[in-house]
C-alpha cells in the first residue's frame, strides 16, 4: 500500500501541472477541470487493487526482441472486489468533472454498487468491442453507450497500470524498437523528450508504460523518411507540438521537457496538448492511439 504522503504528493503534482496548463492557456480551463478529479482518483486507484493481475510472467527474450509485447497472449486477472473498489473511486470523480452526464453516471454507479455480478455483466459487452453488444448493455442500464464505453475504458486502465508496475522492472535495459507498448502492445498517446540529450519516450495509452523510441520515426507505421513527416507547433509554446506522419496519416502529440524545471505529470500531458489535437485533426490526421479521448475534436 502506498502511503498517504505519496498520494498527497502525486495529487499535488497533478494539480500543479493542471494549474500550469490553465495559466499558460486559459482557454483549456474547461477541459482541464473536467479531468482534474478523475486524474487524481486514477493515480490512487492502482494502489487499491489487491491482486497482482497476472501470474508466472517470464520474459521470452527471443520473442520480445522480435517485437512481441510481454502480455501478448497472457491473461490479466481482475477480481470482483478490486473492480468494485476502483469503480466506486473513479465514477464519483468523473461525476465531479462531467456534471452534465451525472444522471447516466449515477445509474452506472448504483449498478456497480448494488449488483455483485456487475463486473461479469459488463465483460461481454466490452470484450467483443462490438457496438451492438455495448449498445444492448447500455440500453439495459438506461445510459448512453458512449458514456458506458468511456467509463469502462477508464476503469480498465488502473488494472493495466498495476500489471505494468510489475513488468516494467523485468524489461528494463532490454532493447525495444517498436512504436507500440512493450508491456501491453497498445499505442502511445504522447511523446516526451527528456534529459539533456532529448531522448524521446512514448507513453502508453493503456498501461502508462514509457519507452524510448527513435525521434525521427513514426511510431505507427515506422516511416523514417523525414520528408514525409511534419511537426506543427504554436510559436508561443515551442515545447509543445504534434508530429504528423504523411505516410500513415496519423499523428502523436509531444512535449519537450528539456527546458522545463518541473515537467507536467505525465497523465496531464495529453490534456494540455489538446489544442494540437484540434489542429492535427482539422488537417485530416487521426491520433495513432485508439484510446484517445480526443479523437473527434472537430465535429
Amino acid at each position: 500500500m502506498v502511503s498517504d504522503e505519496t498520494h498527497n504528493k502525486t495529487a499535488k503534482s497533478i494539480k500543479d501541472s493542471l494549474d500550469w496548463i490553465k495559466k499558460g492557456i486559459p482557454q483549456l480551463t474547461g477541459v482541464v477541470e473536467a479531468f482534474a478529479e478523475l486524474l487524481v482518483a486514477k493515480s490512487i486507484a492502482k494502489s487499491q487493487i489487491s491482486t497482482p493481475g497476472f501470474s508466472n510472467v517470464e520474459i521470452d527474450l527471443v520473442r520480445f526482441s522480435q517485437g512481441v509485447p510481454v502480455l501478448d497472449d497472457r491473461k490479466i486477472e481482475v477480481d470482483r472486489d478490486s473492480f468494485r473498489t476502483v469503480a466506486l473511486l473513479l465514477i464519483p470523480a468523473i461525476k465531479k468533472g462531467f456534471p452534465k452526464i451525472d444522471v447516466d453516471l449515477n445509474r452506472l454507479e448504483s449498478f456497480v454498487a448494488t449488483d455483485e455480478t456487475a463486473m461479469e455483466q459488463l465483460q461481454p459487452a466490452l470484450e467483443s468491442g462490438s457496438a451492438t453488444i455495448l449498445g444492448d448493455m447500455a440500453v439495459k442500464l438506461g445510459i448512453s453507450p458512449e458514456i458506458l464505453q468511456f467509463v469502462c475504458s477508464e476503469l480498465a486502465k488502473p488494472f493495466a497500470e498495476k500489471v505494468e508496475e510489475a513488468i516494467a522492472p523485468m524489461i528494463e535495459g532490454l532493447n525495444w524498437l517498436k512504436g507500440y507498448c512493450p508491456v501491453c502492445g497498445a499505442w502511445p498517446t504522447v511523446s516526451v523528450l527528456k534529459g539533456n540529450e532529448g531522448r524521446r519516450f512514448l507513453n502508453c495509452s493503456v498501461c502508462g508504460h514509457e519507452w524510448n523510441y527513435m525521434r525521427t520515426q513514426c511510431p505507427f507505421c515506422e516511416n523514417s523518411d523525414t520528408t514525409k513527416q511534419e511537426i506543427i507547433f504554436s510559436e508561443d509554446r515551442k515545447f509543445e507540438y504534434a508530429e504528423l506522419c504523411h505516410s500513415c496519416k496519423k499523428y502523436i502529440v509531444g512535449l519537450d521537457t528539456r527546458n522545463l524545471i518541473s515537467p507536467p505529470h505525465p497523465s496531464t500531458a495529453p490534456i494540455g496538448l489538446i489544442y494540437l489535437d484540434v489542429l492535427a485533426q482539422e488537417r485530416g490526421f487521426t491520433p495513432g492511439a485508439t484510446v484517445s479521448m480526443f479523437r473527434d475534436l472537430t465535429f
Binding site: W20, N196, R258, N259, L260, I261, S262
Partner: protein
C-alpha cells in the same frame, strides 16, 4: 516555493567546452565582445556588463609531477544574504521571494558601483560604462519563472550543471561530494549554506579561481 532554486556546478565533470558561456550570451542577447589572448585560454578575461558567465582556467604544478588544469564556470552565486544589497536601499536590487534569484533592476544605475561591487564577496557586479547600470547573471529569471531551466544549465553537454529546488540540489551536492572524496580527499562543496550557485571542487578552491570561495 519557500526555499527557492539552486544550481549545482560539478567542476569535476567540466571539460571547459564553454558551451555555458556561449549559451548565456545567446539567450541574453549579449554580443561577442572584442577580446585578445592575454596569455591564457580563458576569454573574455573578466566578467562585464556584456559577459555574465565565464569559464576560468587555472593550472600549475602538482605533487605527482604532472600539472593540474582546473576549470571553473563562474557566475553570480545568488547569495542567500546578498552582500551587494547592503547599498541598495531603494529597491535597486531585488531578491525574488519565490526563486531566490538576485535581480539587478535598471535603477542600479543610481547605486554606488564601487560599494556594491565591494559588498560582493565574489566580485561579481559589473557596470555598463555608458548607462552606469549594473549587470550580472539573473539566474535566467525570465526562463525560470516560465518553468524553464537556465540557459547555461540546458547547454551543458557533460551534465556538470544541475538546476532544481534548493533542498534537492543540496542533497545532490552532498551525495556527489561523498562519492568524489573517495578519490579526492579535498573534495567539497563551496559555501553551500550561503549561496544558491553551489560549486563542487576536488582540490583547494583557490586553485580553481582566487575568489572561488569568496574574499
Amino acid at each position: 516555493m519557500s526555499e527557492g532554486y539552486s544550481i549545482l556546478v560539478d567542476t569535476s565533470k567540466c571539460t571547459a567546452c564553454r558551451g555555458c558561456q556561449i549559451s548565456c550570451k545567446q539567450w541574453n542577447g549579449l554580443p561577442g565582445t572584442h577580446t585578445k589572448n592575454e596569455g591564457t585560454h580563458e576569454n573574455p578575461l573578466d566578467l562585464s556588463a556584456d559577459t555574465w558567465k565565464i569559464v576560468r582556467f587555472s593550472e600549475g604544478p602538482s605533487k605527482d609531477g604532472n600539472p593540474f588544469w582546473h576549470f571553473f564556470s563562474e557566475q553570480c552565486r545568488h547569495c542567500l544574504s546578498p552582500g551587494c544589497m547592503a547599498e541598495a536601499e531603494n529597491g535597486e536590487i531585488i531578491q525574488d521571494e519565490n526563486t531566490g534569484a538576485v535581480i539587478y533592476t535598471p535603477k542600479t544605475k543610481d547605486l554606488n558601483y564601487k560599494a556594491t561591487r565591494d559588498g560582493c564577496p565574489y566580485d561579481i557586479p559589473r557596470q555598463d560604462p555608458k548607462t552606469k547600470q549594473l549587470f550580472k547573471c539573473t539566474m535566467c529569471f525570465d526562463r525560470i519563472t516560465n518553468n524553464m531551466i537556465p540557459a547555461c544549465v540546458k547547454s551543458c553537454p557533460t551534465g556538470a550543471m544541475v538546476f532544481g529546488e534548493r533542498p534537492k540540489v543540496l542533497e545532490m551536492a552532498k551525495a556527489r561530494v561523498e562519492e568524489l572524496s573517495r578519490k579526492f580527499p579535498k573534495a567539497k562543496a563551496i559555501n553551500p549554506e550561503d549561496v544558491r550557485v553551489i560549486y563542487i571542487v576536488n582540490d583547494d578552491p583557490q586553485k580553481y579561481w582566487k575568489l572561488a570561495a569568496g574574499k
